[in-house]
Amino acid sequence: MCGFTKEARSIVSSAAAVNVPVKTLLLGMGNAILCDDAVGIRLAKYLGERLAHAPGLSVLEECSVGGLNILEVVTGFDRLIILDSIKTSGGNPGDWYRFSGESLRETMHLDSVHDANLATALELGRKLGIKLPEDRDIHIFAVEVQDNITFSERMTEELERDFLQYAEEIYKEAAELVS
């Protein structure tokens, strides 16, 4: 298991310069009763507890909205850490990846299923003058999942078994961001 996109740490310079805690939102995305789709929520709970004393950190463990709704959730924050699931072709369950907000731009031209997607919503919000985190301050950690269409309160075996391992790895990277 590895984070294969090792981007440079972003620096939120404006806030750091005056020693004001950067307002960070830790966001768990997913559906708690949809098998592996819960992994983002489980991670947010784990990381939220581990990072409870990080300055300026807010945690939203369970966020199941997207599109234009997400604007209302992230407005006013300087930095965004998203914990989510991902399905890639040939990916191994439990592998995790790290993306930046800039990489989301690649999908900006897409429309979402019932709304605008995250990148489109953020772009629209910025055009409208809403205070939102810059792309470089959006950090996405996504765990490869196997089953996100079956109703279940447990994740699949591999994701349950290896949870502490990948959660700890992601925690270390998130801790660097908010320390």
């Binding site: 997913g30 559906n31 299923v113 019932h114």
Partner: protein, 488 residues
């Protein structure tokens, strides 16, 4: 030698859908299947749980219309506890639900429908989205869209405590009432929302009705079906989204049936096909007659357009004006032009705003009698509401201890499964012809056929990249001879 075109998965569609198109030697459409390959199993998942938990669980079925599931579930649970619900609780639920409708309809119209009309159905997919809409109509309108959606959400928050994953409805009513100070905050927002509904109608007139090609596409294109309409109505046969009777009217305007929620199984049955997991509801008393149009067909649709088709009038005055204008322009009522559903959403939104105005002026709305503790378990309940994308039925049974023993759900899109299949086939046959290669624009025209139903086949599944890319494969002689992707 035949060839096959696969559109898999479909964009702008919740869940994984797939279209299989089979062409003959000349390139004409032989057949078309709209398939849903996912298996769900939610109805089994809830068996054995306390019945009062279901309204809190079912919101997780769908991140698109969680409030619809919450309301239908709450009403089914009310039935299991003998329907001891005070009138104020129904008013508050209805008030919440009308605000929910507004936020949902705004998102659908501006983020999903408008790109096809404002940017054009054959526009580059890179600009055919809400950013493209804002680029064309201006930032000011984009700001109004965002503000109005946020206001509708804030109203829900103040009434029900949450906008998503509600835990507000309880057996016997709701968990909290509406504070007087919150009502005072809601009133000016409702006034602005009403103005926004009028603004949206004006925009539709200018952009869609002002373009002869679009009007022609709506009225004379392949996007029409001679099938019947379903919708929830009040005692005056006006649309009601929260409660009433289900009315079904044929495409000539004659009432086929009208039933109360507990009677639903006498009127609706579900047909199964071996090539999809999703069932095909039909009018039970007519029997399954296949995917056929016509006055004797047993196929119905449950959409914003069908809700207006079954209505004899709107419940509020300005919505009535918009209703009359729409049908006058469309050449009469009922209307089979499926794309008119986008207009119907805007008409509904006017009624939603006027209904909110009515509740704002209701002196009882901030009252305290919003819940009673039920004294009995009667064991069975059926809750029906109009989800934004179709009639939604929840039917539960429980034992004497209130433990769920069965659950049956007929969701909005399931009602429309057969019409979506038929509309897609009709569009495919119209746009894909011998000698014409399926371009991105043509494929979008095909997708527009089912997008008008705003279909939703899954729940709040969320995995990156959070999109449903379009993958088209053309098969010839058993091999893929051409393949292209859009947005992936």
């Amino acid at each position: 030698m035949s060839r096959k075109i696969s559109i898999d998965p479909i964009t702008r569609l919740e869940g994984h859908g797939k279209i299989e198109i089979f062409l003959d030697d000349q390139g004409a459409v032989e057949d078309c299947y709209f398939q849903i390959p996912e298996l769900r199993g939610f109805e089994r998942f809830v068996v054995g749980r306390p019945i009062e938990e279901l309204p809190r669980i079912v919101t997780r079925i769908c991140g698109v219309c969680p409030a619809s599931h919450h309301m239908a579930s709450a009403k089914a649970v009310d039935g299991c506890f003998g329907n001891e619900v005070p009138p104020l609780a129904h008013k508050l639920r209805d008030m919440y639900y009308n605000a929910h409708y507004i936020h949902s309809h705004i998102a659908h119209f501006y983020a999903l429908a408008a790109p096809d009309f404002v940017c054009g159905p054959d526009a580059d997919p890179a600009v055919r989205n809400i950013l493209g809409v804002v680029a064309k109509v201006g930032l000011e309108i984009g700001g109004k869209v965002i503000k109005s959606r946020a206001q509708a959400q804030e109203i829900q928050q103040m009434i029900g405590g949450r906008t998503t994953h509600l835990v507000w409805c309880l057996p016997g009513g709701v968990a909290k009432g509406l504070k007087k100070e919150d009502l005072e905050k809601i009133k000016p927002m409702v006034a602005e929302l009403y103005d926004f509904t009028q603004f949206s109608l004006d925009l539709f007139r200018k952009i869609v009705l002002g373009n002869a090609d679009y009007v022609n596409l709506i009225l004379n294109g392949p996007y029409n079906l001679k099938i019947h309409s379903m919708g929830l109505v009040d005692e005056n046969n006006a649309p009601n989204f929260y409660e009433g009777q289900v009315r079904v009217v044929d495409f000539e305007g004659n009432e086929i049936c009208k039933y109360s929620p507990p009677e639903y199984f006498q009127f609706v049955a579900e047909h199964v096909e071996p090539w999809t997991y999703l069932k095909f509801p039909y009018l039970k008393k007519r029997g399954w007659k296949g995917f056929v149009e016509g006055i004797d067909s047993s196929i119905y649709m449950a959409t914003p357009l069908s809700r207006l088709n079954v209505a004899e009038r709107m419940a509020t005055p300005k919505a009535q004006e918009a209703f009359e204008e729409m049908y006058k322009t469309l050449g009469g009522k009922p209307c089979q032009a499926l794309m008119a559903a986008h207009w119907a959403r805007l008409v509904e939104m006017v009624q939603n705003a006027e209904t909110l105005q009515k509740y704002c002026a209701d002196p009882e709305i901030t009252g305290e009698n919003y819940r009673v503790v039920p004294k009995q378990i009667t064991g069975e309940g059926v809750g029906i509401v109009e989800a934004m994308r179709g009639t939604l039925t929840h039917h539960y049974t429980c034992d004497q201890n209130g433990i769920c023993t069965s659950a049956n759900l007929i969701v909005g899109t399931t009602n429309n499964n057969a019409p979506i299949h038929m509309a897609t086939k009709k569009a495919v046959s119209s746009f894909i012809k011998p000698g014409i290669e399926p371009t991105q624009g043509i494929l979008n025209l095909v997708e527009m056929a089912f997008r008008t139903f705003d279909p939703c086949f899954s729940c709040a599944t969320h995995s990156l990249p959070g999109e449903m890319p379009l993958h088209v494969r053309i098969h010839k002689g058993g091999k893929v001879y051409r393949e292209f992707r859009r947005c992936c």
